[in-house]
Amino acid sequence: MASSLSRVNLLPTTRTLASGVPLATKLNHAIPTGLAGGDHHGATGARSDVPKSWAFKSGVRGHLGKTNALPTSSSFQQRFISTSTPVSADTHHPMVGATGVRRTPATGVPDFSPYKAKNPGLNRTISYFMVGGLGVLGASGIKSTVSDILSNMAASADVLALAKIEVEMGAIPEGKNLIVKWRGKPVFIRHRTADEIDEANKVDVKHLRDPENDSDRVQRPEWLVMLGVCTHLGCVPIGEAGDYGGWFCPCHGSHYDISGRIRRGPAPLNLEIPEYQFNDDEEKIVIG
């Protein structure tokens, strides 16, 4: 009789919902504590997932097992037993396609391997590049701010225009002085004669208090441009006076020669030379 059975039909015990969760009422899916952690290899002590002794009826010697496998599914389904290798459940999870997250069925821990960096070097390069890019932007911003503040403090174009004066060269005959006011200070301009140039060049500068050659003090020998402020205490020297044919400071008696060098008296330095240039097109000396 038994040999005539060729096929075993079992009633389905579970039904899978659309979400992939098996619908099995009256079944406890709660995983025992510690079971989700793995296989307990290397763990010391008693297994944590063993039920406590008070959970058993320890007085019972024998164990009577009786299982009533009633169908839990409402609809009748044929169930086959297959011995082929089961396809791993995670690839069959219905949400894999949508989320890309694979769930390991035994533990329920999501598999984050799709999020792992495929090339750690690229990640590192991008991170440092972002930091460096912030540094680049910050450095250029700071540089612009500083240069803007500094240029704000510098003289503007109208002030610079006022800070220059122009003197017509034709207005000064040979052998004459002209005193002009430049930035609140007097400026001596002398159109020197050839004799005066010779005289200025003949002086042995080694014996002077502030040794300076006449060629270092003038751009063109016939034009001597100096600040008319005595280097002693700031008086204005008098032109064509003094023992050396140049300038003489009346306050404390400093004598300057025809090149504006200090020769006698308390002044320590030669008369200062301002910044100036010649504008030959318009026959002008531009001071400043």
């Binding site: 070097g121 590192r124 390069t125 440092y128 460096g132 540094g135 680049v136 932007l137 540089k143």
Partner: protein
Amino acid sequence: MSRIHDAIYNTFFKRNSAFVATCFAGAFAFQITFDLGTTAFWDYHNRGKQWKDLRAKYVQAGDSEEE
């Protein structure tokens, strides 16, 4: 691919001195390119309206320039 990233890391990022120097050099280059780029865009946006575009119409060669 990872060799390239390692080379970049070892050249620019590994030493702080190289990193900071790269940042400053990059800032220098960035400022120049940014200035040139924005100026070029401004000139393009206002082409035909600026004095350097109109100058040829009003200043003939040989005219003494008024200051």
